[in-house]
């Protein structure tokens, strides 16, 4: 009897143990088409053509952390599951990881940021030139590159980011257009042209040199088609990106006229208006349609009486200078040019059967705010999460978001299933601890 009880107990317990072991090994499965096919595209060798955004420029500089999470690098990583090959970038070395130097947020008191330049472990070989990089490069993003200057030989000497990638003999001779050719690519991304409008805008609508010209619309169309024709010369497939509206970035929507007026009234309740000098030289009270550049908040000019008996920006006789302001008419002009550029980009892409990453439309959505996996993302400076401390370029999180805009457009166009990037794995702005 006792033996029987022990036996029964043993059987019962054994069954329980077996059951527990069995189920512990049974995981739920989720089937997914992601990462299974390249569709009609061939991702064997991907090259990324573009400007600072493509290079991973962030926080006012090009440095290793940003380079590693540049949107093309994130895309390439995911392409690997559908036949993508290796993807090379002109990374700075670990010893020179801070590259050109960049801005770091070192304090945030009552919402007022202190930005401090990072000056150690830089990659300068002399005062103005960066350490050379030799070897295969597939991330061809060059900070400051423009559609018009992609065809200018001297620019490869003037631009330190292109200069560092060229053998000495080619510096100042080889154009960016030539630089991107002959790379035997099977797939490309082309997100260029932002600076053709932004260079002008971020200089307050004042043209002083070739980097802040507003590129003529028909010139843009001609040169952009040269780029597309070259990149598709071997029948390659690819994706082009549209140019975001300049007003969708924190650079132009952080220092608002209303914020300045509030700050002025806190000191002098009688303050009634902010005065600006427009592109035509006229002086008038600013409205919410006039955009003031982000660096103005740390320029130390506002309200100053250092160079005039009247407080700077608060009196018609001492208005905010033209180069700090993209006034209403200049805004309209830039918007008009961007629309024209984008029409060019889209119609060329359509004629070549290319995918289009419509970052113009997407960043307009970000401007009003989107939520991805529980992360609220908008175009607010610092707290918005997508834009880095320069107010123009993307944080790692912003790069991940944009990478998915590209990936989704590629998949939609070519029937591929490049997996998306997990946005939650990438940071926004780093807050001081």
């Amino acid at each position: 009897m006792v033996g029987e009880i022990i036996m029964k107990k043993y059987i019962l317990n054994s069954l329980l143990v077996a059951a527990v072991l069995f189920v512990a090994s049974c995981k739920p499965e989720i089937e997914s088409p992601a990462g299974t096919t390249a569709g009609t595209a061939n991702f064997g060798k991907y090259i990324a053509v573009g400007n600072s955004l493509t290079s991973g420029f962030a926080d006012g500089g090009l440095y290793l952390e940003g380079q590693k999470v540049a949107y093309p690098n994130l895309i390439a990583e995911k392409m690997a599951t559908v036949g993508g090959g290796s993807f090379t970038s002109p990374f700075f070395t670990d010893a020179q990881a801070n590259g050109s130097g960049y801005l770091s947020l070192t304090a945030l008191v009552n919402g007022v940021p202190t930005l401090t330049p990072v000056t150690n472990n830089l990659a300068y070989r002399d005062a103005t030139h960066l350490a050379k990089y030799t070897g295969e490069v597939q991330n061809l993003g060059i900070p400051g590159m423009r559609v018009d200057l992609a065809f200018a030989g001297p620019f490869s000497a003037a631009n330190p980011y292109l200069e560092r990638l060229l053998p000495d003999a080619q510096v100042g001779v080889t154009t960016y257009f030539q630089f991107i050719q002959g790379r035997n690519h099977t797939f490309f991304s082309l997100w260029l042209g932002n600076n053709d409008a932004l260079g002008y805008a971020t200089n307050g609508g004042v043209t002083t040199d070739a980097t802040n010209v507003l590129t003529d619309k028909s010139t843009f169309a001609l040169l952009y088609s040269n780029l597309v024709n070259s990149l598709t010369a071997g029948g390659q497939k690819g994706i082009v990106g549209t140019i975001p509206d300049v007003t969708s970035i924190p650079y132009f929507n952080t220092v608002t006229v209303a914020a300045l007026l509030t700050a002025a009234k806190a000191i002098n309740p009688a303050a009634a208006a902010i005065y600006i000098q427009t592109g035509t030289g006229a002086v008038r009270a600013a409205t919410s349609e006039d955009l003031i550049r982000l660096p103005f908040q740390s320029a130390g000019l506002f309200g100053s009486t250092a160079s005039s008996p009247y407080p700077y920006g608060l009196h018609p006789l001492n208005p905010i200078a033209n180069n700090w302001v993209l006034d209403k008419d200049e805004v309209a002009k830039v918007k008009d040019f961007v629309l024209s550029y984008n029409n060019t980009i889209k119609s060329l892409a359509d004629s070549k059967g290319l995918a289009i990453a419509d970052t113009y439309t997407y960043l307009n959505q970000v401007k009003t705010g989107i939520v991805i996996n529980g992360i609220g993302i908008n175009s607010a400076f610092i707290t918005g999460g997508a834009f880095s401390l320069d107010g123009v370029h993307l944080t790692p999180r912003g790069n991940a978001v944009i990478a998915n805009v590209f990936i989704n457009a590629i998949n939609a166009k070519y029937g591929s299933t490049i997996p998306i990037v997990d946005v939650t794995q990438y940071r926004g702005v780093k807050f001081p601890n």
Partner: protein
């Protein structure tokens, strides 16, 4: 043997949750029958299943059981090829019952301590839904003293008062980054209580087909003075003050059940339960912080649950004088609507399968074991609040055992 069993139990993932936060593991015999049995006066677990049937129990008894539950949930973001799984955690639902009454009298007293709601889910600190939730540990322990009375030889009624002790610990990441890049985090931890009741009627017809109607009331569980701990970079500390507290309310739904028991033979009985779970009271999950800042407002997250329901069919077969065998099937309709599925309750309609066995070693001592399996259907949707977009798939396994002493 005990040692081996224990070590196995500790080394595998366990986890509580079913149908929203409802845990359908309240009696080993009934679990073996997919959770049906409100119309059977099977054992002391009738304190939970139908207080009206308690008075028809032949003997006085106490029993205690545990059902370590493996809740294996997986998530895949839309467009991703990466499947993420919950971590291995142990949180066994348990049940304790005692029934006593003078022999051949018309009334019996009962006491039940059981865990009808709960959830333990740990997705880890760095999964793709971390800004919605990293982990939740929710426990509701109901304590229910009960009186059951025979109105006639064939009709019994019973009712019990329910006191709920609730514990909640909810953690999620905050999308602000420290200088080394890692995310902030919030931990909400609180204890609460609530009150309700459980009543039922048991009818044995002349054909010996039995019927049950039971109603378990809603229990609004209030958490007061819970701690809200924010782990954020110091430059944001003024926005997320230290030592903050919160109040919250977790409404646990009422359940109305209709049950039928059908004797197929002297030794075999069928049980069927249809339950209506009135989840509509769970409209939002709100946290009211004692200190608010411009960055920290009170939150009110819509849940918008609708009522859920379940249908369960079980069979109990007395194979020998000492050995009983059981099996059951069921289907449950989720209370969670599209757009409101969250990682804290990755719910969907589900199939239920179960099996069980009982063995009476002596006339006084009985062991029952069960195995309960739920296949929660794969569900793809985008959460309206967080934008978390993807597919959840969950399998639930719960082996269980209980010991009963009767006199």
């Amino acid at each position: 043997m005990k040692k081996i069993l224990l070590s196995v139990l500790l080394s595998v993932p366990f986890w509580v949750m079913a149908q929203g936060f409802q845990v359908n593991l309240q009696g080993q015999k009934q679990i073996g029958m997919a959770g049906a049995g409100s119309a059977l006066a099977l054992d002391e677990a009738s304190v939970f299943f139908n207080p009206g049937a308690v008075t028809f129990l032949e003997k006085n008894s106490v029993s205690a059981g545990v059902n370590p539950l493996l809740f294996k949930s997986a998530f895949q973001q839309a467009g991703s090829n990466i499947t993420e799984n919950v971590k291995n955690k142990i949180a066994p639902p348990f049940e304790f019952y005692a029934v006593w009454g003078p022999k051949s009298n018309k009334w019996k007293l009962g006491l039940g301590v059981y865990t009808p709601f709960g959830g333990l889910v740990d997705w880890g600190d760095n999964w793709s839904g971390k800004y919605a939730l990293t982990s939740l540990n929710l426990k509701a322990i109901y304590i229910q003293p009960t009186l059951s009375v025979k109105i006639t030889d064939r009709i019994g009624i019973g009712a019990g008062f329910v006191y709920n002790h609730g514990d909640v610990n909810l953690q999620r990441a905050i999308p602000v980054n420290f200088p080394d890049g890692h995310s902030g985090k919030v931990t909400l931890d609180g204890t609460g209580k609530g009150y309700g009741w459980n009543a039922g009627i048991y009818i044995n017809t002349l054909s010996n087909i039995t019927f049950a109607i039971t109603h378990k009331s809603k229990v609004i569980t209030k958490l007061d003075g819970g701690t809200a701990e924010f782990d954020v970079p110091n430059s944001l500390r003024t926005s997320f003050p230290a030592g903050n507290t919160f109040t919250a309310e977790l409404p646990l739904p009422a359940t109305t059940t209709l049950g039928i028991g059908i004797p197929l033979s002297k030794s075999t009985k069928l049980a069927f339960d249809a339950s209506w779970v009135q989840w509509h009271i769970y409209q939002d999950l709100s946290f009211d912080y004692a200190t608010n800042t411009s960055a920290l407002a009170d939150t009110k997250s819509a849940r918008n649950y609708r009522d859920g329901s379940s249908f369960k069919l079980g069979i109990n077969h007395q194979a020998t004088e000492k050995l009983a065998l059981r099996a059951g099937v069921g289907y449950a309709f989720s209370p969670v609507q599209d757009g409101y599925v969250t990682p804290e309750a990755p719910d969907a309609d589900r199939y239920i399968l179960s099996a069980g066995a009982g063995y009476s070693f002596t006339s006084k001592f009985e062991v029952n074991a069960s195995f309960f399996f739920e296949d929660v259907k794969s569900r793809t949707q985008k959460n309206i609040e967080t934008g978390l977009n993807g597919t959840f798939k969950t399998l639930v396994y719960a082996p269980g055992i209980s010991l009963t002493y009767k006199w």
